[in-house]
Amino acid sequence: MVVSCPELRASGGSAESAQRNERVISAVTGICPNVEMVEPGVCAFGARGPARCFGGETALAARIIAAVADLGVQARVGAAGGLFAALLAARQADPVLLIPGDGTAGFLAAQPVSVLADQDLAGQDLVALLNRLGLRRLGDFAALPARDVASRFGGAGERAHRLARGLDFRPLAPRPPPADLAVAREFDPPEPQAEPVVFAAKALAERLHAGLAARGLACVRVQVRATWADGRESSRRWRHDGLLTAAAVTDRVRWQLDGWRPAADSDQYAEGGVTVLRLTPDQVVHAAGQQLALWGETLPSDRVARAAMRVQALLGHEAVLRPVPGGGRNVSDQVTPIPFGEKREPRLAADRPWPGRVMGPAPALVFPAAHAAEVTDGSGRVVTVSGRCELSAAPARLAVRGESTQRVTGWAGPWPLSERWWDPAAARRRARFQLVTEDGRAWLAVIQDGRWLVEAGYW
């Protein structure tokens, strides 16, 4: 039986249509598991078993059309004794065309030879040749002796001849249903105690790993999802540089659920307890062992890793960072924070010259978002920098938002910086200054588009 969705066939390879196609396939897989993708928008499966299960081919076809229609896609279903005939039937279906097994030869014989052109085997050439020879129906072509067809029309012609006689090149090769590697445990009644849940998590983690190991896989990231009795969910993804062992997964479950206890010393969960605990391997790799760097990288000890993971359990994966020094012209670019457990690579390479970066000691405080400020000259006018990098007047006062105005006792600049002029979205032109104020603090100030900002503080 073939299911064909003309609109998905026509829409080509866009990401959206691929997504819809995948949804259609999974809907069909929900009805009969072994489905082969023939081409985008077309899938085929052996109908005998499912038809018996659902009470006949007509009922099966109706069920599939309804399931696909739920996704907003119109489907046509055709069935015949053979993939090629079923494909043709689906193409002509409105919306269902079922050719009984013994009627297949007759159905094919009545088809015009032009249907062979779509098979992309004989191509237009063969179809044109057959037409010139007066063979207009597949039945006429099929009536020729196979040996003569092979000697006259070559391999392509022989394959087309087999199709015309209702013989397929190969049996259906259905894709096996994706193995469900996730493991889950239900608690009925809901489990309010922490220990039994963690204990169950240990068994689950071992089952998860046994399932993965049987397929020669290992898991880099695992999703832990707990559902509470009141319907709320706690879902978190855990990643680890080293591959996650069963014990490591158990620890993470404990840390994640610890965050849901009303007090640190209580062993009862709020929210009425856990009803379902589910572990899903989120990123699976072939288990090929792990190679550690020989030197040059500091690996966190177990103790540090445990502490970091516990904080991640409280605040989320991105809350614990490890800084990686890199390159860049601005002080905020020169350190890349990487979430704990992920590969540490700076965003900008450190071994480039980076002309225009600020020289001298690095600031102790780099404001995560630059503070708005105002730099004025002796007469109270805002200091400006022209396109030719000329200063309107010497800076005399610095007013950072949220702080009192300070007298400027020393300054240097402007140091122009024109970054990424080739990329309109990222290009910026700015002039930088170092300012020292009367309270002894020093600032890295920037003027960009006529606005003053304070990027960093030296104190």
Binding site: A308, V311, V324, W411, A412
Partner: protein
Amino acid sequence: MIVASSGPYSAIDATESKFDNELHEGGASEVMQMPRPYPAASIPASGGGGILPVLPALRGLLPQGGLARGAVVAVAEFRLLCLALAAGASADGAWCGIAGIPGAGLLAAAGLGLDPGRILLVPDPGPVWPQVVASLLDGCELVLLRPPARASAQVRQRLEATLRRGRGVLLVAGDWPGAQVRLRVVTQRWTGLEDGHGRLRACCAEVVADGRGEAAMTRTCWLWLPAEDGGVAAVGPLDLPAGLPAGFPPGLPAGFPAGLPEGHLADLPSGLPGTAPALRAVSAG
């Protein structure tokens, strides 16, 4: 007046320490709350079991010359001094957690000697910060914290109990009433920047430390924080920044050449002759 140094500390490099010795002999006792940095020679270079090491220039500020495990050290606000205090331990192999300071200048930290590979950053610990700090203290020997909210006495006591169990050190950038040692920068002056030219090169800072118990004495140190190479160095009397205004550091007797690093003498008890150390400084120079 030149007095030979023959006190209990024989191998003393810092000029300040020399003064202290001499003051000792002159009859000044610790009971008088003399500002006296701990002499470097009496301190093991790398901390023993109970002490996390600090950079050599900072040893004089801390009792036992390092960060005592289980203690809270508070710095009045977040500044380079906080990172400098952590640098010695980090260079020695300790992991350092930094919580609640999204703007911590990690490049400056690396310049001071902190190993970026052994830093855990929790920029925004949020309302559960006490739990976050307790977790970090389990894994890191040193945690630098700027509390997002004022810590209640109960929270402080809990964290201090965690500290004592885990033998870590909590460096607080902010107020922490029970801190064993409190440090603050009272004056600082950047060098290298003129009117319209130059660039920031180094900062000469006066750091004052006091605290409880063993640390009760007020100690003062002049430090290059940072020095030109990004590290920390003691300020010698000869390499003072040029152009310090008259009366800087404050407290020098009138007519004395400006720019000598004796800020800690400003707090001299009135009973002592204030001019004696100044004379020694001249001879030492």
